[in-house]
């Protein structure tokens, strides 16, 4: 047993889905044609599970319990069963969340709610990227909701005293760092694992999935997509309407335009 720990580590692994198959774009609308495509566990989620399993391996005899959570946007059960086949101990499927769950902040609020209701957890380990390869801000927002430290790009994770030792890689090089528990860890370049035939069988035939209803209060507490879009629209309108001198003063007040540069520009005119 590691110092400061009298129970197995508990790790929450938020997982996301991805479309499996050839994606096409509808010419008429410019939207993705996803009809008939299967939802599967996304590759970044597979890598996050691999990282969480590394933590379990390093935990030794004390062990670690890995719980996957998925906020259902369709195909949720299959995604969680695939996560279980990869080595997750228990799947939590959040159902009944409103359509705004495609909004990262609402999804983050939902995951944070699961963290609170099903905790305590020692870490949240998840994917850093979305299914289309872009950086996902969801887990950073989870860290914000829970007021936890967050680290991105982790390639290895192990218990270390009252926290975790992490291998972290950035464009500047590779580092070994320490992060306190609990924390949010976003997986970096971790080799994916492949579910065994035994694991696949058990995920479908032996194991259950915990289904929970989205906490409507937590969901409402986050900004809805409509609210965010309206906020942006308002700001744009105010910029268009503002007079030039006011704009420069506003930028200077936010230190975006240096005083000297403005003075030079003004002198030249």
């Amino acid at each position: 047993m590691s110092p400061g720990r009298d129970r197995p580590l508990r790790v929450l692994v938020p997982v996301t889905g991805a479309f499996h198959g050839r994606l096409r774009v509808r010419r008429s609308t410019g939207t993705l044609d996803t009809e008939g495509l299967e939802r599967i566990l996304s590759d970044p989620s597979v890598r996050a599970i691999s990282l969480a399993k590394r933590l379990r391996e390093h935990a030794g005899d004390a062990g670690a319990e890995l719980l996957a959570v998925h906020v259902n946007k369709g195909g949720g059960e299959a995604i969680l069963r695939e996560a279980i086949a990869h080595g997750i101990d228990q799947g939590i499927l959040v159902q009944g969340a409103p359509r705004e769950t495609s909004d990262a902040s609402v999804r983050a609020a939902t995951i944070a709610d699961v963290y609170r209701q099903h905790g305590p957890f020692d870490a949240v380990v998840g994917p850093a990227r979305s299914e289309f390869g872009g950086f996902s801000g969801t887990l950073a927002a989870v860290a914000g909701h829970l007021d936890l430290p967050c680290v991105v790009g982790v390639s290895d994770l192990r218990p270390d005293g009252d926290g975790f030792g992490i291998d972290y890689r950035s464009i500047f090089g590779s580092y070994k760092l320490h992060i306190p528990r609990p924390c949010v860890v976003l997986a970096g370049d971790v080799a994916p694992s492949y579910p065994t035939a035994w694991g696949i069988h058990d995920a479908y035939q032996e194991r259950g999935i915990l289904r929970v209803q989205a906490d409507q209060y937590a969901v409402r507490a986050a900004l809805t997509r409509r609210q965010r879009i309206e906020a942006v629209r308002e700001e744009r309108q105010s910029v268009e309407e503002v007079e030039g001198g006011t704009l420069v003063r506003g930028l200077r007040s936010r230190a975006l335009v240096p005083e000297a540069a403005d003075a030079d520009a003004g002198g030249g005119a």
Binding site: E82, Y194, P195, A197, Y204, Q205
Partner: protein, 406 residues
Amino acid sequence: MAFEFRLTPEQRLLRRSARAFMRTEIEPHLPADDWTGHGGDSPLHLVRKMQDQGYFGMPVPRELDGAGMGEVGYCLVFEEIAAVDSSIATIFGAHTGIGLAPIYLFGNEEQRERYVRPIAQGRHLAAFALTEPTAGSDAASIKTKAEKDADGYRIDGTKIWCSNGNFADTTVVFAVTDETLGAHGGVTAFLVEKDTDGFQVGTIEDKLGIRQSNTAELVFEDCWVPKENVLGNVGEGFIVALTALDGGRVGLGAATLGATKRLLSDCVHRVNAREREGRPVGQNQSVQWMLADMATDIHLAEYAVYHAAELTNQYYERIAEGEPVSRSLREQVSRAAAVVKIHCSEMSGRAGESAIRIYGGDGLRWRYGVERAFRDQVITEIYEGTNEIQRMIIARELLQGVGVDQ
């Protein structure tokens, strides 16, 4: 015959993960060519990795530490293995389809614990020894004898063309126990462990194709096995062999299906990437016809294989549970397996020829892999019962009225 087949989410995940595993963890580590050396250098280190994935115990239920995925799961994985390498696919098929299956189907509780469990756990490999120098497709002509003594049997004879024979931990060996009774009643199946006294590995064949699958001669000289190693009932070895071969042929169909799908995929990539006279080769109608014929063959093969796999699954479940099996089901399985064997092996032959023509001169160069695929498919029309024998099975059943007007 009413038939609707759709893979379950579990089976789709199995196929997808097996494909990813084979193409990421196995394919990059395969030997660059198969010319250097012959049997004896099977890539067993790669086979071990596949055993760790649970693939070598696919149809065995979870209670015996298998994957519990049935014949359909076995065929799905077989397809993905053969899409990467036909030699490893042969090792897999000889082990699972005809080595492991009869032990699981006909073994008693003790035999299942002793032999099936370690195989399903991925610790042991199995083989099937039926063919002899004077008995090929005519399995009824085998000469290997098993003389009964007080506590067991002494086996004498020679088996040939035994895939996995030189490294299998357990081999199912067929021998005559009563010459007066012929195939039905006179042949018995035995389980022979690799270190048994009197059991030796003879020649390892140097072959045209599947060169990295070991094909061994097995020599039995006064090889004693205890009576507990009789598989099934004494005198019922022929039923054991035929039952295993039915499933083996379906698996073989899946393997050729996987290999042909991969060949088609490679050909499509080739004709899109390669230009002649300023345009992609794929724009030539003659090339398009070859591709379309390959795709048509594959489409039909897929239905045939998984229909036969589903039937075989029902058949094997009844045998394993000790339930009575209707003659109708047995005949349907035999016929479906024979159809699959013929169609798929001949499909891969046609695809191999087309691929070489599509690749042109490069098709004959070893580094493109097409000539290897061409060589590897030749055996599929011969082993596990030649296609001529399969046609005899189908014709015999047609003449008896089986499958007519269904």
